[in-house]
Amino acid sequence: MRTEHIRNFSIIAHIDHGKSTLADRLMEVTGTLTSRERVDQFLDKMDIERERGITIKAQTVRMNYRAKDGRDYVFNLIDTPGHVDFSYEVSRSISACEGAILVVDVSQGVEAQTLANVYMALDQDLEIITVLNKIDLPNAEPERVRQEIEDVIGLDTMDIVSVSAKLGTGVEDLLEAVVQRIPPPSGDENAPAKGLIIDSWFDNYQGVIVLARMFEGRISPGQKIAFMSTGRTFEIQEVGVFSPHPKKVDSLGPGEVGFVIANIKNVMETKVGDTITDAKSPAAIPLPGFKVIRPMVFAGFYPVVSDHYAQLRSAIEKLRLNDSSFTAEPETSVALWFGFRCGFLGLLHLEIIQERLEREYGVELITTAPTVGYRAILRDGSMVEVDSPARLPEPIELDKIEEPVILATIHLPSEHLGGVIKLCEERRGIQRQMKFLSSNRVILEYELPLNEIVLDFYDKLKTASRGYASMDYELLEFRPANLVKLDILINGEKVDALSLIIHRDHSYYKGRDVAERLRKLIPRQLFEVVIQAAIGSKVIARETVRAITKNVIAKCYGGDITRKRKLLERQKEGKKRMKQVGTIEIPQEAFLSILKVKE
């Protein structure tokens, strides 16, 4: 394969602007997919992706294209996710490419992830082809959007391509633009092999499958390869490409993207971003690799039935094999017994993992309130990472707590500016910049504590802007803040799984809110339940759930025996969804609901 006939590109965009649909059309026009195989968003393979209509995992496809110049080209396309939680997938994908197709929905315009993703691509010196998508929509505003692209991103719109990914309009032009404008990869076929691991996952039949982009040299079955960060060596059994189905090839050379199977048992051996080289004549310097991604949000996962702990552990291990951005460590809770403290890239990521554990592995979970990771600075100067309120050191040991602060970039129509600013200020935001893109589009930059946005900020932002605002964010730094631990006591016993770390200014209000919320959620039981919210030893709110006074089968004679027993069985079943904490039964929702913000 001559490199000048290869084109590697990612499709990037804001969420829902039509990346996966465009990928469908590209595969169709190039004949990569037979018409029988056609389904919408073909590359969104996971059930969860299909149900939610979003891409979670980047997917690679190799396509053959005969261009108008009469020559045959090989395209490697990577469809990427648009959601901010998965932006690392975008960053990996673009480092395997020379170009990117930037998709902009003409009914929406430039949004936060449009900008964030295109900047990532520009940072890597990628050639950008700007595509206006959804031109079939009646509310399309190509002129306004074109202007925005020039003003906001600063891209030249002279050679913009207009398409309807849905109808296929303009797709041929786009393919030609790829050939003409995206540079072919360069790389010396005879140099020592150098390939970048873009992704890796575990397959039950073939072991670990590595997806790699070759930069130099050539790899083929039988060859011994080494991973440069670990020095571990393996013998290649098979190399191939996805087109879109896996297809064996003889070798992978410079510029090619494909899979490598090398009898690897453990995905931990194949770190994304690591460099593959030849074991006998290794490359001197590895490829730059990726920034290590760290979980931003943490929550406890506990089995509803304590006996299911082992089942949960094995399910978590299996999921971790294919998603190294999700972390899990064993944790114990006084209230919930044995479980795991898990780390996620964001709330969507958490939800997806939770749903997959429940659906694919059949474990019923109690999820504790998500929290961000804090840093506790102790009086002796040492630092402890706190990924769970229960682990916050005692006040006497504690010098200060630092919280993660993000830089949020919010795009919105200026008419909603007031509401959005108010929201940011309520969430302890500090305005950094306000940029008017035009008379009615604004970009706001706010420094915001991550714990203020992790949960419901995005929904609130959408409400405040009638759905028109979009947001991107990145971690800025850890900053000291006046944070306290809010404890919940039930009948005098602290329920560790209900503790929260919260800003002192919000603590009174929140304490009352949580206590009240729990009062509504905890059903009346045989004994009175007293719910208290406390900071340290100071009780700031108290609610009681009065003891139940009537639950009886008053009349019970011969005819009723079987029926009445069924009734009791049903009542018993209902209780199974509750977690017994001491003598009190707490419904599962209680553990999550405490974070909900009062409407």
Binding site: Q525, L526, R546, I548, T549, K550, N551, V552, I553, A554, K555, C556, Y557, G558, G559, I561, T562, K564, R565, L567, L568, E569, Q571, K572, K575, T583
Partner: protein, 385 residues
């Protein structure tokens, strides 16, 4: 000893809260009914000869309203029973009745015909509440039935009451209790109203035309009943039942203690212990339909809709769940001896947990519910289900 239950599925008119099987019917159906019962008893005797030979010490005519049948017919049925099954001397023979369906003369006939106990469905002494309940009688009818039962010489007189009725206040209920006590019955049943789906009362409640009193108030009424009746010399022996010593319903106790009962008539239930076949009991039920019942008998078969052979665990659960309804509670060793199988482990654990949590009391080998938990007993008993 076993009991015999006869279900008489007739009423003058359906009450608004009723979900028992009973119908307003023609005299033809009523006339044919005793014969159907006799044939059912014959069929039973043929199929379960050993059970049929066991002596019965209670006979109970329930319904419906048994006294919708002529007293002679009821006495005739009692004779039919005695012809086929041994009834022990001194047996308790009860008829349920509702005010407005019996005259003094009727009661005298019943008493002479061998009935020893009468249970009167008074339900309330308030005209408004009787209307809400859709009862056919007024307060005066109830008073008269009670007087008549006394004057005709029944050994034991029971009054049934309902509380927790839409529109009823605590004061209304206190008055009902006072009047009850003043009528000097031997036995009082006081049931918290439970609106059952499919009844007109349930429908009015769902439409919002009526409202149930709040649980806390109903619980208060229950407390008042326990206190008032205790003060008047009635010992509580079950969640909803109170009696002067010696006047407990021996028949009903059989249900809670899992003693054998043979049921006849549509929607009658029974618990049999056919030797060698169902050591832990066989639950039988005739369908709640006269037509199906009649059809079965005419085809020469027992018209049973449902039979359920209890396993040892099932039997234990029932023994605990229903035994604990009685204030004397249950004796685990006794159940073990009778059922011939030890308390299964999961149930033992559940029992121990409840005892540790103070939700069951263990005293002298007996287990019982604390009095203050009787009205929330489902919360406890469901752990044993």
């Amino acid at each position: 000893m076993r009991g015999i239950y006869i279900h008489v599925p007739f009423c003058v008119r359906k009450c608004s809260y009723c979900d028992f099987y009973s119908v307003e019917t023609s005299s033809h159906t009523k006339n044919e009914f005793p014969d159907l019962l006799a044939r059912e008893m014959d069929l039973f005797r043929d199929r379960f000869p050993e059970d049929a030979r066991a002596a019965a010490d209670t006979v109970y005519f329930g319904g419906g309203t048994p006294t919708v049948l002529a007293p002679e017919a009821l006495c005739g049925l009692l004779a039919t029973i005695r012809d086929r099954f041994p009834v022990a001397p001194g047996a308790e023979v009860t008829a349920e009745t509702n005010p407005g369906t019996v005259s003094t003369e009727d009661l005298r006939t019943l008493r002479k015909g061998g009935f020893t106990r009468i249970s009167v469905g008074v339900q309330s002494f308030s005209p408004t509440i009787l209307r809400t309940l859709g009862r056919i009688h007024g307060v005066e009818d109830a008073r008269k039935t009670i007087r008549d039962a006394r004057s005709t010489g029944f050994d034991s007189l029971g009054i049934d009451l309902i509380f927790g009725i839409p529109g009823q206040t605590c004061t209304d209920w206190e008055e009902d209790l006072e009047r009850t006590v003043a009528s000097l019955p031997d036995h009082v049943s006081a049931y918290a109203l439970a609106p059952e789906t499919g009844t007109p009362l349930h429908a009015s409640l769902s439409r919002g035309e009526l409202k149930m009193p709040p649980d806390d108030e109903v619980a208060e009424m229950y407390k008042t009943a326990r206190r008032t009746l205790a003060n008047a010399g009635y010992r509580q022996y079950e969640i909803s039942n109170f009696a002067r010593p010696g006047h407990e319903s021996r028949h009903n106790v059989k249900y809670w203690k899992r003693d054998g009962v043979t049921g006849f008539g549509p929607s009658a239930h029974g618990l049999l212990f056919p030797p060698g076949r169902a050591p832990h009991g066989l639950r039988t039920a005739t369908p709640p339909s006269l037509a199906e019942y009649r059809k079965g008998i005419r085809e020469g078969r027992l018209p049973w809709a449902d039979t359920l052979v209890c396993g040892p665990e099932e039997a234990w659960k029932e023994a605990l769940i229903f035994g604990l309804r009685m204030t004397e509670g249950v004796d685990l060793t006794e159940i073990e001896t009778i059922s011939g199988s030890p308390l299964p482990d999961p149930l033992r654990e559940a029992v121990n947990e409840l005892v540790d949590g103070g939700k069951l009391l263990r005293e002298e080998g007996r287990l019982r519910l604390p009095g203050e938990l009787l009205f929330v007993s489902n919360e406890v008993l469901q752990r044993l289900a």
